[in-house]
């Protein structure tokens, strides 16, 4: 038990420090407040660590009870964003607090996972079987989908297509894990995919453009395709050993936009090269693998689903973010967990990891 706690803690800390280094390297030459951005990230990391410790001590079964409350808070904050949210980069994603901005969509991802884990499992910790095997299409798919669709719709409307689709992906993979009949899952996917050409008209212009640019970045090299082109150049120019810390011209001379947030992987990769990047990938993989191991050895169905959900959330975010850095996925606004600058993402990730550790710890108490 101490093992998984220590492993996850150390891996998360190393990744977070690499993130701080990368943020520093991409902003230290800018003027004014930009230079202090890495300090803020360090502060968030400290707060995140505190949350990690608290959550790792707090029995995760309490989440079962607080489930509706958590879901309600997430939904409420998403509504608040609509009315009070501040607009940045053309999107209304943030709530302003005293000295920081909070991004409820990050929080909502975790809330939805907790909700789904609760929904598909039984109260009794001794009964390990899942309910969902006996569920019909209504209780198995449609009812939970409504609970996912409401926050998803609110997030997509912000607009934040990436986080919205993330919810959908986590939902579908959890459905798959909970032994809901494949027939139902395919029906759901079909219902979602068939009207896609119709939804095309509801996409914002920039979202359409991003999808087109994903198919061919060179159609608009100075506009929508610019970021991907520059990010590929940054990663590729790193080579085997990288250009060295603070020597990455792409990120430090600002050819790469969003070099400290969504495209921090490119910033990192330019400076540390193939060796550094594959090491980073390996660390992410180990955290996720640890999550899967924890899920597998947990007898409690709620805990198991929760652990799977958290690991999947991490895995999907890491994959989509890095793939989009390399031009293998369309550009959607998704942070790289633990690396990208941003307090909400950092906090939620540490909380999620804390829950994961706690599931493993509580298991052994039984």
């Amino acid at each position: 038990m101490r093992n998984s706690f220590l492993r996850i803690l150390i891996l998360a800390l190393v990744i977070t420090s690499l993130g701080v280094l990368s943020i520093y390297s991409s902003t230290y030459q800018k003027e004014g407040a930009w230079q202090d951005i890495y300090k803020r990230q360090m502060l968030w990391a400290v707060i995140g660590l505190a949350c990690f410790f608290v959550m790792s001590q707090l029995n995760y079964r309490k989440l079962w009870d607080a489930n509706y409350f958590i879901y309600g808070v997430a939904l409420f904050s998403l509504f608040l964003v609509f009315t009070l949210g501040i607009i940045r980069l053309g999107a209304q994603r943030w709530l302003k607090f005293a000295w920081f901005n909070f991004q409820p969509s990050e929080f909502a991802k975790l809330a939805v996972i907790i909700f789904l884990a609760r929904y598909f499992s039984r109260k009794s910790a001794d009964d390990i079987s899942l309910l969902s095997g006996k569920f019909g299409i209504f209780r198995g798919i449609i009812f939970p989908f409504i609970f996912v669709a409401v926050p998803m719709f609110l997030i997509i409307e912000q607009p934040d297509l990436g986080s919205g689709l993330m919810l959908l992906l986590v939902f579908v993979s959890l459905l798959y894990l909970t032994n809901v009949r494949l027939k139902y899952i395919f029906t759901l996917l079909l219902i979602l995919i068939l009207p896609l050409p119709f939804f095309w008209h509801f996409l914002h212009d920039y979202q359409k453009q991003r999808l087109l640019v994903f198919l061919n970045p060179n159609i608009d090299p100075l506009g929508a395709g610019y970021t991907v082109i520059q990010s590929r150049i940054a990663i590729g120019s790193g080579g085997l050993f990288g250009r060295g810390w603070l020597s990455g011209t792409q990120s430090q001379l600002y050819f790469l936009p969003e070099s400290h947030t969504d495209f921090i992987f490119a910033t990192f990769s330019e400076q540390w090269g193939f060796l550094g990047s594959s090491l980073l990938l390996l660390m992410y993989y180990f955290i996720i693998r640890q999550g899967f191991i924890i899920a597998q050895r947990t007898q409690d169905s709620f805990g198991r689903l929760l652990a799977y959900g958290i690991s999947l959330l991490l895995a999907l975010q890491v994959f989509i973010n890095i793939a989009m850095n390399m031009g293998l996925a369309p550009v959607v606004g998704l942070p790289l967990p633990l690396m990208s600058y941003g307090g909400s993402s950092m906090l939620v990730t540490f909380i999620a990891l804390g829950i994961l550790v706690n599931i493993d710890r509580t298991r052994s108490v039984f």
Binding site: I235, Y254, F255, Y284, Y308, L328
Partner: protein, 571 residues
Amino acid sequence: MERKSILRFLIILMFGILLAGLLNLDLLQWAKFRRLSDSNCIRLIAQSGARGNILDRKGEIIVDNRISYDVLILPQELSQIDRILSGVSRILGTGVKELKAAFKSNYFSSSIPVTVASNIDLNKAILLGEYKLEEPSIIIQPMPLRHYPYGPLAAHVIGYVNEIDRWRLTKLEDYGYKTKDIVGFGGVEEKYDYYLRQEEGGLSVEVNHRGKFMRVLGFEPPRNGKDVQLTLDLKMQKIAEESLSGRKGSVILMDPQSGQVLALANYPNFNPAVFVNKRTRLIAGLFNNPDSPLINRAISSSYPPASVFKVVLASAGLELKKINLYTSFLCRGSTMIGARKFSCWDVHGVQDIVSAIAHSCDVFFYKTGLLVGAQNIHDYALKLGLGKALGFELPYETGGFIPSPLWRKINKFQKWFDGDTANLSIGQGDCLVTPLQAANMMAVFANGGYLPSPYIIKAVGNLDLSAKKRKLSRVAFKKSTFEIIRRGLRAVVSDARGTGNVLSGLGVSVAGKTGTAQVSRGATHAWFIGFFPYENPKYVICVFLENGGPGHAASVIARQIIEAMNKQGLI
């Protein structure tokens, strides 16, 4: 398989995809992306060196470079540009509108200085230098430009410089030539462009995404081109051009002992400076002029040699023992060959070889030619360096042409008649030589039996090439042949009735041969080729006047040249 195992497999697959992506970008395409990254942030600011000078044989400058100044503005703060441009316009006296137009059309990116005015003089450059203290984004860049202190002097030898054309670029791309490079056209500038060419240097600077200057990465000083020293003698070249003054033709002065060309003048000529100053109208005029002033007549055009060719006949006749010193023919003003009457230009009476050369008697040489035969005439002409290119260093040399019965049979399917031999004997018909070939042929009689290969490049950089260029080939004629012909050539001038008598009494003994070439249209071409001093020849001279009248006209110019050279103590 269990669903969770499949899911785990999918996760591993996802990381596999990411790793493959990294491999592709970082290892397979690394070089391409590194280059793209560098081209994002590295800018080159070029600085030009100076093209090599062209010097005369004593090291005096014929062509050098003058520093002109270009005004550039570093467009870092676009809001300031209007103010800076109006300041610059006040000093230069040019309109703000023009400067703005130039700025607009030359603007490339904010890190690259924009040329707003070029070719301004030193005074204004100094004034602008003071203004630069207030406006540091002004850059005054010295720019070496070709300068011709003597204007059109030796223009055909030198050539001119201009922006590279498409044809040359396709040939020279592999040697590092780029579009918009200034390269030589014609003359030494073209042939020795590779050596004369300067190497560009400059600053490489790092810029950020807005093109703002970050730091200097390196500096490579520009290198000047190598100087090319010619065998031309500036004083003789001046004399030659002044004497030719306005008459179409060429003058060549050559050292018969080494083959060094000491003067090479053509008219009509051109001023190469018009290409530097981009005087479009004048340049178009040069290309459209029916007299083709850009043609180097001395090597690129060939003409019927006329009586000058009689030297070949005399050599062939004496060498083949068809005639000797005592052979004489009677000139009655004409002679019958077959059914046709071939006339002489005068009635000369009894002529031996020496007097026939002196009086340029056509009848004597018709008869000699018939004795020798057309093929032999052709062969001896080739032995004396006619009929094929001399391998001279300037571009666009033509080889001239000597006809022969064989050539006519193969190419024209026509028989060769005695009348053709008679025509060839007096250098008419299809026979063509360049003025340089004529001079070169005369050098054989001046130096007593060596055919030089004429050259004009003495040294490139510090490397003296004259030792390597000195290539004289022995012309294996009998000593008596040279003696007899030399006597004849001397008699052309010394004989009271000699065709070149105008050249006597100069204080220097001249020998030579005149020629008057019939042309199908217009006045005759005039030739004089000769050497002096007769006893110890130091110079071969060739004066050729295109449609210039009788050979006498060329002799008069030769006299002027020799007189002037004598006066300046050059002989």
